[in-house]
């Protein structure tokens, strides 16, 4: 059998991943029609390409169904609480940089820190009769971060997209989302808390610690890792 490398199946993340490997003499390409998720690997023996949604790559690595995979640190940390036992970071790829942050309306002149957010949440609950809502798709990371900081009286509401719009639409009072330039936040009249950085993320190549390997796959992995370190 061959070593399985999981790569995001579409968009800029896929293109940049292909380019990153290309620089190291490993050519990844999609085969068949535009809509068919099949690919090939040239320039190295014994490695096959698996095209997947970036969000599914952590799970596939943790289950040992792929040996290597490219996905963001944010997704790995969110989906795999014990990620460092299941995965090993091989190399950060230097793109897809994004920070997971907590942002509140810029008009909240009284809120700059998590400490302020906690006090604002207490006041909000007393006046409005429900907890202050924070929209996010990173439930576990955000909850652990806020618990660690001692923030209470909030509730997380799920938002899988257009999260920056939830405050204006009054489905949430604050958000926790990834941002790279802060442009979208500013456009939506939001500001980042000064101590509201939860995680710095970038596209990263991971190796599964649990995927079974035969001798052939093991030697393919050694060659692959050696090529990357050149």
């Amino acid at each position: 059998m061959s070593l399985k490398l999981g790569v995001p199946s579409k968009g800029r993340l896929m293109e940049k991943t292909f380019a990153w490997f290309d620089k190291r003499g490993i050519t990844l390409s999609r085969t068949g029609s535009d809509r068919e998720y099949a690919g090939r690997v040239d320039g190295i023996e014994g490695v096959s390409l698996v095209l997947l949604s970036a969000g599914e790559i952590p799970r596939e690595l943790a289950a040992g169904r792929i040996h290597l995979g490219v996905t963001g640190t944010d997704l790995v940390h969110e989906k795999l609480p014990l990620w460092d036992q299941q995965l090993e970071e091989v190399a950060p790829l230097g793109f897809g940089q994004a920070d997971l942050i907590i942002a509140v309306p810029a008009c909240w002149a009284d809120v700059d820190t998590l400490d302020d957010l906690d006090a604002a949440a207490a006041g909000f609950r007393a006046r409005h009769g429900h907890r202050l809502r924070i929209a996010t798709k990173y439930h576990r990371l955000v909850r652990e971060f806020l618990t660690g900081a001692g923030v209470a009286d909030y509730t997380l509401v799920d938002s899988q997209g257009a999260t920056e719009g939830t405050v204006k639409n009054e489905t949430a009072e604050a958000i926790a989302d990834i941002t790279s330039t802060g442009e979208t936040l500013r456009a939506n009249h939001l500001k980042i808390l000064s101590d509201g950085l939860i995680l710095r993320s970038q596209a990263t190549l991971w190796r599964s610690r649990v995927a079974p390997m035969d001798a052939v796959e093991k030697s393919a992995l050694d060659q692959f890792l050696q090529r990357l370190s050149q």
Partner: protein, 362 residues
């Protein structure tokens, strides 16, 4: 081999023991409406309990403990005084330690009785200690009510006391607030700028969201009042620090706390209750001279307890969670009682862990 059948048998024996002590057996559904627990514990409960949902009933929780449903049942139609026992599965989500069970059997004993709280505390502790007899366990006790009384009686503003009270169960946050209110932590730069600004709302950012201008203005008014208030005195701070570090056997702890009450006289009624509890425990045959008391005990894990708290630990197995825990939760009955309230105290045991230890010791 500790089979489920053996655990259930052990649980039935424990429950029978509590029935013999006068408790009535109660059953509660495994699926609990999520709303009550979410309202009590907020987002933190989602990290500890399994939440599921359907289209008709919405979010429901796999029973993370019996106390809340038993209190609800009692507040709805319980006679007074009441003693309850139960045995069954509880479910706890585990995200960090694969060795911790996410489903286990718990047996509990709860007392709702307003006549003599000290005697009720001693009754629950003694019954559980007897049930654990023969296992090499260390008992720890504490009393959250003493710290709460200390905070309630501080010579400082009401908003400060409310903020400290809100974070009693989050020691780090509590400490940070205390240091700020005592003038021992620097004012964050953004806060200083805000307080200096003639019109803090002149920033020009459009007003969006449900937390509106009135909310922001109200908080700024609180911050301004806070900045003008005198710091918590060194005397009171020293008293609180001394209180939080008390860790001795029960009678010595009481003696030490009586000294601290010279600076913090507001804790005296809580200390009288501790003294009565010590006498009641002694009357029940508990060797209080060898029973540990820590004033900070129970602050990190036991959010609904507001008085006496206790736990039993296997000293030779520090990897195990406590074998039994319990405490007083008068405030919880108030929260769930729609205006009614009753002093309540209870404790739970884990028969599976008891069997595990018994097996290791033979």
């Amino acid at each position: 081999m500790i089979t489920r059948a053996r655990i259930l048998e052990q649980a039935a024996q424990l429950r029978a023991r509590f029935e013999a002590a006068g408790a009535q057996t109660v059953e509660t559904p495994i699926l609990q409406p999520a709303e009550t627990l979410l309202d009590l514990y907020g987002e933190d409960i989602r990290a500890r309990a399994y939440i599921t949902s359907d289209a008709l009933r919405g979010e429901q929780m796999l029973r993370p403990d019996f106390t809340v449903p038993v209190v609800q049942k009692h507040m709805e139609h319980g006679a007074e005084p009441a003693r309850y026992t139960y045995a069954g599965e509880v479910f706890r989500r585990q995200e960090h330690d694969p060795d911790r069970a996410n489903e286990y059997i718990q047996v509990g004993y709860e007392v709702f009785d307003r006549t003599n709280p000290a005697a009720a505390d001693a009754e629950v502790f003694a019954l559980i200690a007897q049930a654990l007899d023969g296992l090499a366990l260390r008992a720890a006790t504490g009393d959250i009510g003493i710290l709460m009384a200390a905070v309630a009686g501080l010579k400082t503003t009401e908003p400060r006391k409310a903020a400290l009270m809100r974070h009693i169960w989050r020691p780090r946050r509590f400490r940070a607030l205390l240091d700020r209110y005592a003038g021992r932590a620097p004012v964050p730069p953004a806060r200083a700028a805000l307080l200096k600004a003639a019109d803090p709302l002149a920033g020009g950012a459009p007003e969006i969201g449900k937390r509106d201008r009135a909310d922001v203005e109200a908080r700024i008014a609180v911050l301004r009042a806070d900045a003008a208030a005198a710091p918590i005195s060194d005397n009171e701070m020293a008293g609180l620090d001394a209180l939080l570090s008390v860790r001795e056997t029960m009678p010595y702890a009481l003696e030490h706390l009586r000294d601290i009450a010279v600076d913090l006289p507001q804790i005296t009624p809580a200390l009288d209750r501790l003294e009565a509890r010590i006498a009641a425990l002694r009357a029940r045959g508990i060797d209080v001279d060898r029973l540990d008391f820590e004033a900070s005990y129970g602050r990190t894990s036991m959010e609904y307890y507001d008085g006496f708290v206790f736990g039993f630990y296997a000293e030779r197995r520090p990897d195990l969670p406590p074998i039994a825990t319990g405490g007083r939760y008068d405030a919880l009955t108030r929260r769930l009682g729609n205006g009614a309230e009753i002093p309540a105290v209870g404790g739970v045991l884990r028969p599976g862990l008891m069997l595990l230890l018994a097996e290791a010791e033979t």
